[in-house]
Amino acid sequence: MEKSKKAAPKTSFEDALTELEEIAMRLEDGDLGLDDSIKEFEKGIKLARICHDKLEEAERKIEILQKGDNSSNEVKNRRVAVKSDTGEIEDDEELQGSLI
């Protein structure tokens, strides 16, 4: 069993960003009452937080897929180091050229 993480809101980055923009436009229209303005403001802050969290979700890693040692068709992922200025993969093991 996978440990079930607490179900995060399924809002995608795109959706959150779009909604954030819509809130900005609604607030700029200036038609909202004070209560609604504050509500929208709070919603906007929340969405900006979601967007920001989504941006940091990825954790910078380069992996290479390789065939398993045995004859099974199992494919494994192995993390490799790279030089970020040249993009060169630094790996001690010899890289397999393909998965088949």
Binding site: L17, N77, V82, D85
Partner: protein, 428 residues
């Protein structure tokens, strides 16, 4: 004739040097395609290939060096019709020129081109290149899948560009052979592998750096085109090319002329996204504060009115009003009470009055009584009169009312006489 006049001349070396410079530096001769038949073919042990290429009117010496011919996918044969790509060089010592071949393809490459065209038509009819099925790429991919050679320039370029644009991006490379026989199968397999849900890929880049027509051939093969078409994950075709688009470009969701450009298409600039979020956030903040300060001004205008400046004034004023009402009320009450009390105090007078009335009435009664008393028969009898009554007490007013022998009583002023009637005499 004298030998005085020596004409301007070139030495042989000078002339040859000029020709060499002219030919070897002219774009007309440095990157050209030449078509002809192979003749006098020699495979040298050094790996270089020497031959003559000719047609019905002329000959051309050619050399195909090892570094250039090692990746060639077919064997040159005597009499074969070929297309050669390369440049002319001048060989000074022999006073000859020759072609330095970089690439050779069988003249039958026209056949290959024809085959690609046929495949394109067939797949097109099947709807594989339908532009309407191209999906938008995700704005923020977390994990990029890459299908290319693990040792080629393409993967380096992709990693370099992706990390520069988005430092915490995740990249998974599914290695594939990208040229030569069997390459197509490994490319298709790698695309299929990255489509497995376990790898959580948001977008795939599949391709290779630039190369010869043959080098790029795997990306024109049906199995690869279908792998692009069948990719569940949005996929970018990233095959380095200058002229002809590989068929994979048309089957992919997006196409890039080089792997670097593909990485730029796939990976957003993180700083741009942060700026965009910040921009919207500042709009939201500014307009809220604007709204607040607008409302505050309205409030300020309101509170600057006298009433709001000193709210106690209202209370005081109301208090004064209350006091006044109370005072008035009290006054009214007081006067009412005192009036009532006066009335109450006046009640004994009434009694006295009534007593007076009574007295006068008593007096009147007394007077009346006196008058009545004066009129009483008793008073008349005092003057000598008497009253005869029969035995029942009735007054005898006529002789008719009595008879001889009747017992009668005669009332006088001071007593009675009982008597018996001896005789009745009518009239006097």
């Amino acid at each position: 004739m004298t030998a005085d006049l020596v004409p301007e001349f070139f030495t042989v070396s000078e002339l040859t040097k000029i020709l060499k410079d002219e030919i070897e530096n002219s774009p007309n001769f440095t990157s050209i395609w030449v078509k002809g038949e192979i003749y006098n073919l020699t495979y040298h042990s050094s790996g270089h290939i020497y031959f003559t290429v000719k047609d019905e009117g002329a000959l051309l010496s050619a050399v195909f060096f090892r570094y250039a011919n090692k990746n060639m996918k077919f064997k040159l044969e005597e009499g074969m019709s070929v297309l050669l790509f390369g440049g002319l060089t001048v060989f000074e010592k022999r006073g000859s020129y020759q072609m330095n071949v970089h690439q050779a393809r069988p003249d039958g490459a026209g056949e290959l081109q024809k085959r690609i065209e046929q495949l394109k038509k067939r797949l097109e009819d099947e709807g594989i290149f339908d532009p309407s099925r191209k999906r938008p790429l995700p704005l923020l991919p977390k994990r990029i899948g890459v299908v290319t050679s693990p040792t080629g320039a393409a993967i380096k370029d992709i990693i370099k560009v992706a990390l520069r644009r988005y430092p915490n991006i995740e990249i998974i490379l599914a290695p594939a052979i990208v040229q030569g026989d069997g390459a197509a199968k490994t490319i298709a397999a790698a695309i299929a592998e990255l489509n497995k849900p376990r790898w959580n890929i948001d977008v795939i880049i599949a391709g290779r750096g630039g190369g010869s027509f043959e080098d790029l051939m795997p990306f024109n093969e049906e199995i690869v085109v279908r792998a692009f078409y069948n990719s569940r994950v949005p996929i970018i075709s990233a095959v380095g090319h200058q002229i002809d688009h590989p068929l994979s470009d048309a089957a992919a969701d997006a196409a890039a002329p080089t792997p670097s450009v593909a990485a730029e298409i796939a990976v957003p600039l993180k700083s741009d996204l942060i700026d965009e979020i910040k921009y919207h956030l500042s709009r939201i903040e500014n307009s809220l504060y604007q709204n607040l300060s607008d409302k505050k001004n309205i409030y300020k205008n309101l509170v600057s009115r006298k009433i709001f400046r000193n709210p106690m004034e209202i209370v005081n004023r109301r208090g004064m009003l209350l006091d006044e009402v109370e005072n008035r009320l009290t006054a009214v009450m007081r006067s009412s009470i005192s009036r009532k009390r006066e009335k109450l105090l006046r009640i004994p007078d009434i009694e006295r009055l009534e007593k007076g009335i009574l007295t006068s009435k008593k007096h009147q009664f007394h007077m009346r009584l006196q008058a009545i008393e004066k009129m009483s028969p008793l008073n008349i009898m005092k003057r000598g009169y008497s009253i005869a009554e029969d035995s029942r007490g009735a007054v005898i007013k006529s002789v008719e009312n009595t008879g001889t022998g009747d017992k009668i009583e005669i009332r006088l002023q001071d007593g009675r006489i009982r008597s018996t009637v001896e005789s009745v005499i009518k009239g006097d």
